[in-house]
Symmetry: C2
Subunit: 389 residues, 2 copies
């Protein structure tokens, strides 16, 4: 397989983007990435798009062709492919684009992710998000994504003594980071007591334990590493990519306080990258709920199982620590447009590895990791990126 | 890139499968393919699934993980990825699986396609199928997939003198072929006058010019060609794969009587395969409407533009001719479960190239071609397969 580099990035602000349609967001992010890579567009060989549920959100499937069309790429009849794995759609699309370049099939590939969630009401949005879970064994009995994560949180508290305050510490930290990110949906710090006193969504999780409903898009441009310098002075190398699955329903697993798909995907990505968890200085993990980040930093091997809450409360994942987690603000504060999230994570790592992350820059970041999860851990994809010195 | 072979195939009967759920169909097809490849399941490295709109048809996204889970593959945490491009979803999933093996990323990959369409009513099904078209410029004004194809048919009749009888000849021929296929939804011949006199759907297209609403699933197993003999005595080689896009809306194209995406995808696939159209003896093309097959056999280069109707009426695409088109019965008679269709085409070619197609066997078939289209030609994928002698 050929070595692959990221040579361009682009993203929209995340939030309730009333004035941008799905296709407009896709174009905005995609063209920013193409421009960032110093391309004119003619050089692009293929497009991958991560999207969870445009069919249900905006009555539109056939998302690859849609974005190719309105970006002007259908003119050259490039292959355009949509990839879906619930909220891991972006991460999987990235992996497909990576394989398309690594295989030698294509040279210049754009990978985008987009979701337009606010064109439907909140109840409908909750229902659509729940299509990530097992329709037969979970959602048909009324489970929502939040209630499933609440069960995980309760069990983690029971098994490991994780506290309400430790859960809240994830939200406080990610809002603190998000306040430094001009593209974040919430650029505002919040207090621990606000998180704890917020309206309950599915106890113990309250409003501020949950990532928001968001619109947004993000994109990257990939090419073979040996051609990257032709387009940019600051290529970022894809060091490793791992993907794994697990049972769709939580009830079918041995344990619900770990996501084995994360652990296996991470093992595969670390092996390919030739590094271990401690070799990473900056990580974007899938904090769709506060408990999710605690699971993530444990399952990725950053902290021993059961200690993720304490590590967070102790500041070990904050900007300034040896490992900074979710410098973008994470899904919690940066926002969580499902299909866009996995690509936005990669975009944040590229900002960091290029040294372009402004006030939230991790000094001397050499290697970054993104962990993108679908549903309650039935899909996980882990990407390891590195500076090219 | 490594050379890739198909070492196993499996498919369900297509039709109104009231007694099989989406996941059951997926398992049935997948396990048949795994069994056909003489695998136990432990050797499988990755899964790709083509599906158009399970979100809208059965309230379930996250289709890759779902199928991995219920096939027992989540046990090994294999990567499972869903690919979507409307009714070209299966063809695109095949291409992603092909790239995953060709790249060296994975050795044994299962690619499936599935759709459960009959759990919703006919009006809703029509609405869901229309999410393949441009929501902003077509479906929001009431266009359906059938009405868009009716416009194409009218224009083809105007430009090239294609007749109502020639359109009907496609349906008659494909039902004649389907009558020889025990897996076909309609195993019954029909008369030309029945097609012409059938209830109109969108004139000039009547009921028998349209592929049915179907449930079904199909699957194949891929591995590197140099390892194929370990699993099967009759590997089939992937000679070429091409994919292309076009504008989503018909109105944005120079001409609506050709699908440029088909022509470009075919050119790419033929170039890789090192053959031309005349090197193919058996082809499965995307006849979701009778006019679609006429466009296909022209755009693929089998017949000059404008002569596809006459060629069909003259029997040049029937079993026994130098080129047999849609020996399975095609989407028209074999059935058209959107996401499964592209894989079912490949399965039929493998039956033919192995010499296992029974009463519909094309004598001495050496090379086969599958053309799978999304929407009204905004996506096309062409796959060329060959016997390994």
């Amino acid at each position: 397989m050929r070595e692959v580099a990221i040579i361009g990035i682009g993203d929209t602000k995340f939030g309730e983007l009333w004035d941008l349609s799905f296709r407009q967001m896709g174009i905005q992010a995609g063209l920013s990435a193409v421009y960032d890579a110093n391309l004119t567009g003619d050089e692009i060989d293929a497009l991958y798009v991560g999207n969870m549920s445009a069919g249900k959100f905006i009555d539109q499937e056939h998302i690859g062709a849609l974005i190719a069309d309105y970006s002007g790429l259908a003119r050259d009849h490039i292959p355009a492919t949509r990839v879906e794995a619930a909220d891991a759609s972006g991460g999987l699309a990235f992996r497909q684009g990576y394989m398309a370049v690594a295989s030698g099939m294509h040279d210049i590939v754009v990978v985008g992710g987009a979701e337009k969630m606010t064109d439907v009401g909140d109840v409908q949005s909750t229902e659509i998000q729940a299509t990530a879970a097992d329709q037969q064994w979970e959602t048909s009995f009324g489970a929502t994504v939040a209630s499933l994560h609440a069960m995980i949180a309760r069990r983690h508290m029971f098994e490991y003594g994780t506290t309400r305050e430790q859960l809240a510490a994830v939200a406080v930290k990610n809002h603190r980071h998000g306040a430094l990110n001009p593209k974040a949906q919430f650029q505002k710090e919040i207090k621990l007591e606000s998180v704890i006193k917020a309206s309950p969504v599915a106890e113990p999780l309250g409003m501020f334990d949950c990532a928001p409903v968001s619109d947004g898009a993000a994109a990257v441009v990939l090419c073979p590493l040996d051609k990257a310098r032709k387009y940019t002075d600051t290529p970022v190398k894809v060091l490793g990519s791992g993907q794994a699955s697990d049972t769709l329903a939580l009830a079918h697993r041995e344990s619900i306080t770990r996501f084995d798909a994360t652990t296996v995907a991470a093992r595969r990505a670390f092996k390919q990258a030739g590094i271990e968890a401690r070799g990473v200085q900056v990580a974007e993990v899938h904090d769709n709920f506060t408990i999710s980040e605690i699971l993530a930093i444990e399952d990725l091997g950053f902290f021993p199982k059961g200690t993720g809450g304490k590590a967070t409360a102790d500041g070990l994942t904050s900007l300034g620590a040896a490992l900074a987690v979710n410098t973008s603000g994470g899904l919690k504060a940066r926002g969580d447009p499902m299909g866009a999230t996995g690509i936005a994570q990669v975009v944040e790592l590229v900002y960091q590895l290029r040294g372009e992350a402004g006030k939230r820059q991790v000094a001397g970041a050499e290697k970054g990791l993104a962990q993108n999860v679908g549903g309650t851990g039935a899909t996980a994809v882990v990407t390891v990126l590195g500076r090219v010195n």
